[in-house]
Subunit: 153 residues, 2 copies
DNA sequence: TTGCCTGCAAAACCTTTGCATGTAA
DNA sequence: TTACATGCAAAGGTTTTGCAGGCAA
């Protein structure tokens, strides 16, 4: 978490912005765990911690953290964004279960070489690589087997 | 476009739904091209064609077409969904330029084997495989070289 | 002291929903 | 004839913005 703070401070200085107390509160909470989270969850968590930060400021801070590449915004098509640490993104992607909504991470060392090869081909300068597989997780496949839905095709 | 119509009709019949005129209008417009589009763009396009369909019906029809796997919903984190033909999805992913918003497709035969391998590993039954690379496109890299931004890191 | 930052509430945005009317089968 | 579908407008949920007062540097 020392790294993140330093990167954030450097970014703020470079843009003549301030490291305020609310921003520091958000920074700490965000990098205290490695969980995915939504803006709303973070706002609730901060309230629980006894260090509430307003909705507007949380959104503004998340935008800053995404701009300086400390956070990645994910969108699973649910109408709200999920955030995760950019440093956690290397070599991994997400499996999203369309039945129960569970998000499972998977690791594959070949993802990065894939990203590089494709970006080079297209003349792209890659910043983020996002791999998602939508489908049904093992648990829901099993559940389905025991109690099949009508019209399940 | 014959295929899509048949698949849609079969799906509607199986669920005791009707193939109405507005649904047919949407179906035709959607499968007339292979472009990505948003709901809003489609609504505007239908108006231009002289065959307007209401917002509510367009959204409802897009949901149906996604349910029967004729369309894929994409989310590039812009607050609105992009749709594309499911049949176009094989072996390809998207490069999204964070500067100009351009979306470039890339093809790589290895994507499908990657999906299969990962899904098997995790016990997933895959339905959609989404690969996105966010970054800067060749044109914007060039533009940037000629007129660098302040604080451009 | 200066200009950025905060929090509140209102606005904006895309998408969904309730309801009376219209229409496929 | 019966149920499903349409269109309008209003509601819904998340994210953004305007503004007056507060704070970092």
């Amino acid at each position: 978490m020392g790294d993140e703070r330093q990167i954030f401070e450097t970014y703020l200085k470079a843009h003549e912005l301030h490291l305020t107390q609310p921003r520091e509160t958000v920074l700490k909470a965000v990098f205290a765990t490695h969980e995915h989270f939504t803006a709303d969850e973070l706002i609730a968590h901060l309230r629980t911690l006894g260090t509430p930060v307003s909705k507007a400021t949380v959104y503004r801070t998340l935008a800053l953290l995404s701009e300086c590449r400390l956070l990645i915004e994910h969108d699973f098509g649910l109408g709200r964004k999920h955030y995760e640490h950019a440093s956690d993104l290397e070599h991994h992607g997400h499996l999203y279960c369309t039945d129960c909504g569970q998000i499972v991470e998977f690791y594959d060392a070949r993802l990065n070489s894939l990203q590089d090869r494709i970006s080079r081909q297209e003349g792209f300068e890659p910043a983020q690589f996002v791999v998602k597989i939508y489908g049904r997780c093992a648990r829901c496949i099993e559940k389905m087997r025991r109690a099949p839905q009508v019209g399940g095709a």
